[in-house]
């Protein structure tokens, strides 16, 4: 044990449920003693923390596909941590693990649900993104619901985000014409230069988004991978083709709304185009995770996928990183380095 047992541990708890957009005051940094690994347990030191838009839903006191966070308890997300003490023969000091862990600088855990990660060939943080839930979401959402065919037009909202930027690249691998919608000129540039998108639109500066979509999708939209919802999606739905598939992966534009937002009904568009709109939750496809991770790893090694991160440093900045997701502060995956 090289951790001083009377050293204080930093922990971030949910202090208040956000009303609308989360603010710093909804979170609280508390201090408690660094814990000790008991029989069969390991002691972990947090290295990298993933923040993701879906966490906003867990901050509401409302049942959803994941249970809500509890008040005054630590929040959780995907974390890469280093084993610094171990009473479990499967883990040795210095090993790196990845799993759904608490927002604590130090924590004890059993090995359950933890993945030992290899750092030889790949950035460590890739396991929080392209080789983690982000990559799985992008790949399985696109292939299982979007079912891309070569030559089809794929439109992605939130295209420069963690999931969107991977969806577009996989769309290109599969032979689609790929169009991204994002919220800054810099993101648009990134999509075209680094991620190989055919076209990209800055929805914040485009006066006529609907017209812009029409211009860059002269053959209509076959697949719409939707991360944002709201008005952007209304506009895209105007140009869907017969048998279009709409992957509803997220609705970041609506996560902070305190009442139900109104928009044009989608049903008439769906009927007139025999189109499909389906909600996607990655955990429904758990049986395909191993094969999909292998595929993603291969694409990454072959240089077919690029990976982009926005990294903030400092444990205390986890709330700031999370809040920034809703201000479009990230390009690619948002991560906090501890």
């Amino acid at each position: 044990m090289f951790v001083d047992q009377i050293a204080m541990n930093k922990v971030i708890v949910l202090y208040r449920r956000p009303s609308g957009k989360a603010v710093q005051g909804d979170f609280k940094l508390i201090f408690e003693p660094v814990p000790v690994a008991d029989d069969g347990e390991i002691l972990l030191k947090t290295r990298f923390v993933s923040v993701d838009p879906y966490l906003r839903g867990r901050m509401n006191d409302k049942p959803s596909y994941v249970p809500p966070f509890k008040l005054n308890k630590p929040l959780q997300s995907a974390i890469i941590a280093e084993v610094i003490d171990s009473n479990d023969t499967r883990f040795k000091i210095g090993d790196m693990v990845c799993g759904n862990l608490e927002w604590k600088e130090y924590q004890v855990a059993t090995g359950k649900g933890l993945q030992l990660i290899q750092t030889a060939d790949i950035y460590l943080t890739a396991y929080l993104g392209i080789l983690g839930m982000t990559g799985l979401t992008a790949c399985l959402g696109l292939t299982e619901i979007g079912r891309p065919k070569p030559g089809e037009t794929l439109v992605i909202s939130g295209a420069a985000g963690a999931v969107g930027s991977v969806v577009g690249q996989i769309g290109k691998i599969m032979g689609c014409r790929v169009v991204g919608i994002a919220g800054s000129d810099q993101k648009v540039k990134l999509l075209k230069s680094k991620f190989n998108f055919d076209e990209a639109i800055n929805y914040k500066t485009t006066m006529d988004l609907r017209g812009a979509i029409k211009t860059v999708c002269p053959d209509g939209v076959d697949i719409y991978f939707d991360n944002v919802g709201g008005k952007i999606s209304d506009d895209v739905l105007n140009y869907i083709n017969k048998y279009a598939r709409i992957v509803v992966c997220g609705a970041i534009s609506m996560y902070n709304e305190t009442s139900r937002v109104l928009g044009p009904y989608v049903q008439p568009s769906l009927v007139s185009k025999s189109a499909l709109m389906q909600g996607f939750i990655v955990s429904d496809f758990a049986d395909q995770f191993p094969a999909t991770k292998k595929q993603l790893f291969k694409w990454l090694m072959d240089g077919k996928l690029s990976y982009h991160e926005t990294i903030l440093e400092g444990f205390e900045r986890i709330p700031q990183a999370f809040i920034g997701l809703f201000e479009g502060n990230n390009e690619g995956k948002m991560i906090v380095k501890v």
Copy 2:
């Protein structure tokens, strides 16, 4: 030729495109000479005319999955007609045919697209309804998109209409618990007594439709067969189960709207339940028509399906019958007898 060639023929044309709800003044009865069957043609006398909600869409000057009607040209729908003169060896005088024909008392046609119908075992008008597009829509929409499993809860809007009343009965055959939403106490009674629905709700007299749906669907909604759209559908969507399927077959509540109607976004419900919402157009499934018709015929013969019609008499009343669809004047299939 037993038709007097200087006799006048009644024809109903689209005189004006309806703005909102169609009114009598949008249609015009004109007279023209009864035509003569040329080489290879047959002369038909209209016997029964089907009017259907989807025709409203064709009255707008807007491309959809069927082309718009032309102004001052006859409207069209599914019609049963009698062959009264024939220059085509496949048809003899007295034969009954069914096809997509014009709103004319007499018309010439080639045999193309016409089905010779057998009247031995079945009501003639069944070919406009349960053995026609209505039955095919109900059966294929439910099985191909709804994919019912025994024990699941199936909710149907517009349940007492032509399609809805067949969907419910097929749902019962397939072992579902079936709940109908309709617009009068008489329809509710009909659904439970004649069509074997487990529960039915009169949405017009129920103060709290959402609560009523919850009460009659204690295990939630697995399949929602939607003929009406709008607020009724918003309420049903509150109770969908994980992996629910929503068959968007029609949106009669919205067909007459002159601007795009707003409602709560469906995307959050679809994501949180991994649910599917898909537009259904029966013509996409044409390769399955023969087998499906055979199945429907068998169920009808076996007494497993009941059939209900609302019949108006008189060629001139076709517009009235059509307009009545949007006032909920029909129970089951709406037909005009000429």
